[in-house]
């Protein structure tokens, strides 16, 4: 019983990530279950949103499916190949196809490396046969593709604004023509006037390059806009998974409902009404999440445990 779409690009099954908690006096050790039994697919060209609160396991899943921090158990199949069983050399080749964009572009950039060298680095590592001129042309093309002036290639990270730095990270991520990008809170650190720019860019790139995204975000408004399907995570488990219209229009799990009803609306009358309604309805007691059940085609909701 799992959410399945035909011919997935990425197929995650029963993924768990546990961290041992050892007592220093040598007593019984236990484990922290950061992620527990998570399964989902991502189709080619699809964006799957992963939402949930801090500590729900969103980023852990992002790092596990890219093998940056491999899972404790479960399988991650990319284009039908199980990544956990790949030898190191083959995994390095696979990395061209799988890229990551992080929240803080400044932390992801090397302050002593020029923007051009940063974007060219994947070519130097993975395409050593490329000549200098060819590489420079490719970098200029990437700059243009993400909306940066190629003349900025000689500049250093501190000379760019936050939005431009995220564009640099995106340019580097698409350099080797990946088919899958994990975007972990890519707009959370950006100014409001810049967020829409980056989301539009991600969407344009998806259309042109046929990319699939795992879009990890706590911005429920942007997730609805950008994602085809959305998985809601709570305490390391998926509590609901559906296409985004269904999830936002017809949320079934009490946690999804609580999350969606907490989003402020930028319309004074509507927002005041929402605050009044919230005041009058007491917070729901949230049950523990059990196995997923398909309540409608493609709409999966966690069974409640112990109710």
């Amino acid at each position: 019983m799992r959410p399945v779409k035909p011919e997935p690009l990425l197929s995650v099954r029963s993924l768990s990530k546990h961290y041992p908690l050892r007592h220093w006096w040598g007593g019984k050790s236990s484990v922290f279950r950061a992620v527990e039994g998570v399964s989902f697919d991502i189709a080619p060209g699809e964006t799957l949103g992963l939402v949930g609160e801090s500590g729900s396991g969103k980023s852990t899943i992002g790092r596990a499916v890219t093998m940056l921090n491999p899972p404790t158990s479960g399988s991650v199949a990319f284009e039908g190949v199980d990544l956990a069983s790949l030898p190191a050399r083959a995994m390095r080749r696979m990395r061209r196809r799988i890229q990551v964009i992080f929240q803080d572009p400044y932390a992801a950039l090397n302050p002593r490396m020029s923007a051009g060298a940063y974007v060219a680095e994947p070519f130097r590592l993975h395409r050593p046969e490329m000549g200098g001129a060819e590489r420079r042309d490719a970098v200029a093309g990437l700059f243009q593709r993400v909306g940066l002036d190629p003349r900025f290639a000689g500049r250093y990270p501190h000379q760019f604004s936050g939005g431009q730095r995220q564009r640099l990270c995106i340019a580097r991520a698409i350099a080797l023509k990946p088919s899958f990008i994990v975007a972990d809170e890519p707009i959370a650190a950006l100014d409001i006037s810049i967020q829409a720019q980056v989301v539009n860019l991600l969407q344009d790139l998806q259309e042109e390059l046929g990319l699939s995204y795992l879009f990890i975000s706590h911005d429920l408004r942007m997730v609805r806009y950008l994602c085809h399907r959305v998985a809601v995570l709570r305490r390391g488990r998926i509590v609901e998974l559906a296409d985004s219209d269904t999830l936002y229009e017809d949320p079934r799990h009490p946690y999804t409902r609580a999350l969606l009803s907490a989003v402020p609306v930028p319309d004074p009358a509507a927002e005041r009404a929402r605050l009044r309604a919230t005041r009058e309805s007491p917070a729901a007691v949230l049950p523990e999440a059990g196995a997923l059940e398909e309540v409608a085609p493609g709409h999966w909701v966690a069974r409640t445990v112990g109710v």
Partner: protein, 349 residues
């Protein structure tokens, strides 16, 4: 409109920072008033001056590199004899200002973990302003601290008093910060990105809490945020800042439904609609370009280089903040262009 003098009257406040690469004019002539019991939402992005101008009026901008280059901040608080009197916070000696901060103006900042002292129990931290400003004894202050934890809805307050900040969740820590901010029953609470670091459900709880406390205590609030949704729900008045200036200000309903400054409009239009399904959606309307480098702000209206509605005059002369014709009194905007007319004529898509 009542004729009573405002609680806070900011006049032409200007703040600059001297850096190695030049002077940053972070706040450029900000003027506004706040009535007693009013909630003012201040919206803007990093570098807009929204936080810096508040820190400056509370004497919390480090000098150097910061400098207050002009203005007055008249706050109608208690003078040392206990009379209500408007006094200029910028001209006040630090020891008087210290009384105002915490006693008459409460503050809540973004990150409760770095604002709370990890080595002090919450009881001691809530009691500190009570003992310092109200001269309460240890026992009285502790009893008040327990009442305050109750007030901010922390369950089992008596037991929690002796806990340390790390024993509280993120949302509870922000509640403790609010308890400290409200300890002396201030006339004004300033919250600077107070819910930004919190999860959306916790943010909703904190917003609801502040609303309830406002009804109980009746303080005025300055709520600084980049979240237009939060402002829509709690503010009476909204003020949009860009490049160290107020670009639009007015009753929240008027500004949201009839924005007259292009930056305000851009912010409102760049948000995706939560209720719009994917089939009916359009490409997000993005604001082009980046916020200005405040070491070298563009001449004229600082938003002009990003503004599709800009006129030649915008590029040479900064527009004044003036009453909007055809809108409610108190709706002010800084714009040389007539936004509704341009929109009606089909400009800006």
């Amino acid at each position: 409109m009542t004729a009573s003098p405002p609680l806070l009257d900011v006049r032409d406040l200007a703040v600059a920072f001297d850096t190695e690469s030049g002077t940053v004019r972070a706040v450029n002539g900000v003027s506004y008033t706040l009535r007693e019991g009013e909630t003012l939402g201040i919206v803007g992005e990093s570098g807009s001056g929204k936080s810096v101008h508040v820190l400056a009026m509370l004497g919390l901008v480090p000098r150097p590199p910061g400098r207050i280059t002009g203005g007055q901040v008249l706050f109608r608080g208690r003078d040392p004899e206990g009379h209500d009197q408007a006094r200029d916070l910028l001209a006040m000696p630090e020891r008087h200002l210290r009384r105002v901060r915490g006693a008459e103006i409460g503050m809540v900042f973004q990150d409760p973990m770095s604002s709370l002292n990890p080595a002090m129990t919450v009881a001691a931290q809530i009691a500190e302003p009570l003992r310092l400003h109200l001269g309460l004894g240890a026992r009285e202050a502790r009893a008040r601290a327990r009442d305050l934890l109750d007030l901010v809805r922390i369950p089992d307050a008596s037991r929690r008093l002796d806990h340390y900040p790390h024993e509280f969740s993120g949302g509870q820590r922000q509640r403790v910060m609010i308890a400290i901010g409200l300890a002396c029953r201030p006339k004004l609470l300033i919250a600077d990105e107070a819910t930004t670091a919190l999860d959306v459900t916790v943010q909703a709880e904190i917003v609801a809490l502040v609303q309830e406390l406002k009804r109980e205590i009746g303080m005025a609030i300055v709520w600084i945020t980049h979240d237009l949704g939060v402002v829509a729900g709690i503010a009476d008045t909204v003020q949009v800042m860009y490049a160290g200036r107020i670009v639009e200000r007015g009753p929240v309903d008027a500004v949201f439904s009839d924005p007259r400054n292009a930056y305000t409009l851009g912010l409102l239009r760049s948000l995706p609609d939560l209720s719009r399904d994917r089939a009916g959606r359009q490409r997000l309307r993005q604001i082009e370009g980046s916020p200005p480098d405040m070491r070298h702000p563009p001449p004229g209206d600082p938003f002009a280089p990003r503004n599709p509605f800009a006129t030649p005059r915008c590029r040479t002369e900064a527009p004044p903040l003036a009453q909007v014709e055809g809108s409610v009194p108190g709706h002010l905007a800084a714009a040389w262009y007539d936004l509704p007319a341009l929109l009606a004529a089909g400009a800006g898509r």
